[in-house]
Amino acid sequence: RAPGSGAMGGSASLIPRETLGEYQELTFLSKQEILLAYKRFSELLPKEERENACSARVPKSHILTLPELRANPFQHRICRVFSTSETGDDSMSFEDFLDMLSVFSDSATFDIKSHYAFRIFDFDEDGILDRKDLEQLVNCLTGQGEESWLSSAEMEQLIENILEESDIDKDGTINLSEFQHVVSRSPDFARCSGLQG
């Protein structure tokens, strides 16, 4: 894990002060956190590109080696949602990385967290959570192996229950406002949707 501020002295000079101020303004991260993020991001790059970390892109396979994402069942979706890559290869630039850390930080508001959570859970990216999205969500949560997945009868029952609880207008899908309504009542959401460092 990256050590504390002692090692950050060098990287502070690589982000111009004005840009640092802008990043502070635009994210929920503090100055130390942004500098630490810069350090970790540049460690993911090969040595030659480290000088230019601000404009380089890190391929998805490297991002997935981060400890926060390594064990996360939604790792692919997270990379997809936060990546601004035009070629669709889910590579992330430093600014995408900052965006991701900002949303997952402790000080981010409920609105932005729930907005991004919704987008992460929306596997087919159609703006609503329908049955297929919910099924994929359950399969992600129950582990990687096929043997730990729920049987189809159980899956059916589970999705029925979920829709019964959350779908207020009974259209068979969960949209953003219904999602936010359900999750705002949960005491665990704010606690669990944060990443370390």
Partner: protein, 826 residues
């Protein structure tokens, strides 16, 4: 003419920028120049509204101008304007133009964008050049309008000023909320830069004319203030201690184990404040300004104990020099004011004692209220499945092993929830579960009763031993009571654990039952002990604090009478038999160490508490080292040469015992609260203890423990811990309050010696230090006739608030039903 105008159109756009600044003013100045620059004027034909003075000569131009204006929906029209009176129209034009652009650009994604955002929402990578040109023109237009107003001496009208201010405010708000918008960083950056530029330009422009300097100064101070606030926030975040450690533990063990450490850190914060109060307002003033050691009998080690006063063993036991120091109640003198500052020591001691209790209550209740808010209230149970689905993943887990555990537990919980949902429609199994749970509770009650009886029996036996003389019996008989209670405390919780497996609850609920039962065990043991001792008072039970206090106090009452009698005899002996009638006889100088002392029960009580805390700490550390560390070492290294797999079977690595540790922390804090009135050093000792605990336990958890099999969330447990803490706080403050109100303080030691009751220090202060009317007011205010109605009022307001919150919940449900019915109608 017309053709001329038309031809000029093409060059007009390019030349505009060159010509802008130089101003129409010069053109307007003289008719000759106006005529002379007719062509030039035509270039700016759009802008000239005030051409009334030109009269008909320009009629033709006007026609062309309007033609141009029609065509000028493009670039030139709005950008070519320089007059301030046109600025509003131009902005309208600009807006409509940009809206058109935006409609093309929109890829139909985000909802809820206001007009402002649309206006500001440009995509630089798509329209970079054009935007730059636009921006430049806008800037020049603004600067142009500025210079125009100067040269023209036309003031910006009030409306425009107000509108500009409004827009600047909107931009500022946009900047402040930018981080909350779910946009990509690039977009946010461009919006931010544009908004900042706008704000900078216009803030400068708005400051023109009256009070410009003041306005600019105000703006600069605001910026500095924002920067200061941001830096302060950064600093505060960096100051939170142990954040990294706790996050690391969270990633390995999940949030339930981490909740213990967060609780520990919170306790540390409270104890720091208590330490600050007692150290700064009680110990330091006495040490600096009070009479030094050796000047008074109460401040000196008695002659008899002097020989051993410096031994390590004595100091470890908090006797000797430690006892006769600012660490304990007995050292303090009852002088009303001390030192050149006239510091009122007894008053300060009293107020700090009461203040620590009040502060603790306030902070515990405040934290409970905050947790209750976070809980969200409302219909708690209706979103079970959705919550399991959307919020069960703990994003703080970074360790694959924990993640696997988490996957397994989520799968299990899904299956369980489905099964329970189905089961709830069936009838049979409920009876079996209920029967099992009733059986489990019955067994737990049996255990509690059994332990109570055992204690009763053992205490009676030890009284019998004491009567016969303790020297005849071995170590076990002498320490029987202590040992039995410690053993009960160690084994009964394990027994409860086994019993709870019958009940088959969710682990969070099982934890609560466990905590409740252990709590009942400790309280039950305490009461049984007191009841068994009602007849005899002489037993020294080391860890049953409230009773120890009464025991010591009652014993001292007897002693006091004896000592007082002895002291008069001793004084008489000093004067060789003659007791002086008047007090003007010169007092004979006696070394304070030789004066006979009265008993000081407060100091003894304080000492008991301190010894208790220290031994409790030692026990905890040794348990960790032996129970966790040695066990882990044994399992790791002996696994190679053992018959069965030590790591998976018995004993394997230990799991972190959340309930035991939390209870230990809570009881420890109870002891501190009870004892800090009698021993001001207790909060300091506790701060040190918590500090080392944090490091030791963090290390032990990471090194010797494994994650639990069923990883569960701890958030809702927080209020449960707080409720227990509140209960203990209430219980702990009862003895202190009782002694302050009803029991006379020792006559020979402490800041309240000589008074009949400790709280008299307040009335004394009111008499001496406040004007007389204050005392009268206070007397009226403390009249029961006033206090009782006040209490009644508070009870009524609690009832009212409760009723209001119920009605809100019902209104909520009604609205939800309405939503559903509206949808089904459609």
């Amino acid at each position: 003419d017309g053709s001329d105008v038309d031809n000029e159109e093409g060059s007009a756009a390019e030349n505009e920028e060159n010509v802008k600044g130089t101003g129409k003013g010069t053109k307007r100045a003289t008719p000759r120049t106006r005529r002379g620059h007719a062509r030039g004027r035509d270039r700016h034909g759009d802008e000239e509204d005030e051409d009334d003075e030109d009269g008909t000569r320009r009629a033709g131009h006007r026609r062309h101008r309007s033609r141009r204006r029609g065509r000028g929906a493009g670039k030139e029209a709005s950008d070519s304007d320089m007059e301030p009176s046109k600025s509003r129209k131009n902005q309208a034009n600009q807006k409509s133009k940009e809206d058109d652009e935006e409609e093309e650009d929109e890829k139909g994604g985000k909802n809820g964008k206001g007009k402002n955002e649309k206006k500001a929402d440009k995509k630089p990578d798509k329209k970079g050049k054009k935007e730059k040109a636009n921006k430049k023109k806008k800037d020049k237009k603004k600067s142009g309008s500025g210079s125009d107003s100067d040269s023209e001496e036309e003031p910006i009208t009030e409306e425009e000023l107000a509108k500009l201010k409004e827009e600047v405010e909107e931009k500022k708000k946009l900047i402040a909320t930018l981080r909350n918008k779910p946009w990509k960083m690039k977009k946010k950056l461009s919006v931010l830069k544009e908004a900042q530029l706008f704000v900078d330009k216009f803030e400068g422009a708005l400051g023109k004319g009256k009070g410009k300097k003041f306005y600019a100064y105000k703006v600069m101070m605001m910026k500095k203030w924002m920067k200061f606030q941001r830096d302060f926030e950064n600093f505060k975040t960096a100051c939170i201690p142990w954040e990294m450690k706790i996050k690391e533990i969270e990633s390995h063990f999940g949030s339930s184990v981490a909740s213990y450490f967060i609780f520990l850190r919170w306790m540390y914060g409270i104890n720091m404040i208590l330490f600050g109060l007692t150290f700064g307002l009680v110990m330091v003033p006495e040490a600096l300004m009070g009479k030094p050691y050796g000047s008074l009998p109460r401040k000196t080690v008695p002659r008899a104990e002097e020989a051993t006063a410096m031994n390590f063993a004595t100091l470890w036991d908090f006797s000797g020099f430690a006892q006769y120091s600012v660490l304990f109640y007995g050292y303090y003198n009852n002088q009303r004011t001390i030192g050149w500052l006239k510091f009122r020591m007894p008053l300060s001691y009293f107020l700090v004692g009461v203040g620590t209790i009040g502060y603790s209550f306030m902070i515990v209740i405040r934290t409970m209220a905050k947790n209750a808010n976070d809980d969200g209230g409302g219909d708690d149970t209706s979103f079970n499945f959705s919550w399991k689905m959307f919020t069960s993943w703990d994003y703080l887990i970074g360790n694959p092993e924990t993640a696997d555990n988490k996957f397994a537990s989520i799968t299990t919980s899904f299956k369980e929830a489905i099964v329970e949902e189905q089961e709830s429609r069936k009838e049979e199994n409920i009876h079996l579960t209920r029967f099992l749970r009733v059986l489990a509770n019955f067994l737990a009650l049996c255990t509690l009763a059994g332990s109570g009886y055992l204690i009763f029996f053992v205490v009676r036996r030890s009284q019998k031993f004491a009567l016969e003389g303790l020297e005849n019996y071995g170590w076990w008989e002498r320490n029987e009571v202590n040992m039995v209670m410690s053993l009960l405390g160690m084994f009964c919780p394990t027994l409860f654990d086994v019993i709870s497996s019958l009940e088959n609850y969710h682990p969070r609920i099982a934890l609560r039952w466990q905590l409740g039962r252990i709590f009942a065990l400790f309280l039950g043991n305490l009461y049984t002990f007191i009841i068994a001792l009602m007849d005899e008072i002489n037993l020294k039970a080391r860890y049953l604090f409230p009773f120890t206090m009464f025991d010591i106090y009652l014993g001292n009452l007897e002693e006091e009478k004896i000592v007082k009698y002895n002291m008069t005899i001793w004084e008489a002996s000093l004067y060789n038999g003659t007791i002086p009638e008047n007090s003007t006889a010169p007092p004979i100088q006696v070394d304070p160490a030789d004066v006979p002392r009265g008993p000081c029960w407060e100091t003894m009580v304080g000492q008991e508490f301190v010894r208790l805390t220290v031994s409790d700490t030692m026990t905890t550390y040794i348990t960790i080292l032996i129970g966790d560390f040695l066990r882990a070492v044994f399992v790791r290294f002996f696994n190679y040469c053992w018959c069965w797999d030590l790591e998976y079977g018995f004993p394997s690595y230990s799991e972190f015992d959340i309930s035991g540790n939390v209870l230990g922390l809570i009881f420890n804090q109870g002891m501190i609260w009870m004892g800090s009135f009698y021993a001001p050093c207790l909060p300091a000792i506790n701060v040190f203890r918590l500090h080392t605990s944090m490091y030791l336990q963090c290390w032990a958890v990471m090194c010797c423990n494994v994650p639990q099999e069923r990883v569960f969330k701890a958030s809702r447990s927080n209020n449960f811990y707080m409720a227990m803490l509140l209960f203990i706080l209430f219980l702990s403050t009862l003895p202190a309050v009782y002694t302050i109100v009803s029991i006379p303080p020792s006559f020979d030691c402490g800041p309240f010696s000589g008074k009949t009751r400790m709280f008299e220090v307040i009335s004394e202060t009111l008499e001496h230090d406040f004007p007389s009317w204050f005392g009268k007011v206070f007397g009226y205010a403390s009249n029961p006739g006033l206090i009782l109605p006040f209490i009644l009022l508070m009870v009524l307001s609690i009832y009212y608030l409760n009723a209001t919150s119920k009605s809100y919940k019902e209104a909520n449900l009604e609205l939800k039903k309405k939503l559903q019915s509206v949808r089904t109608e459609n």
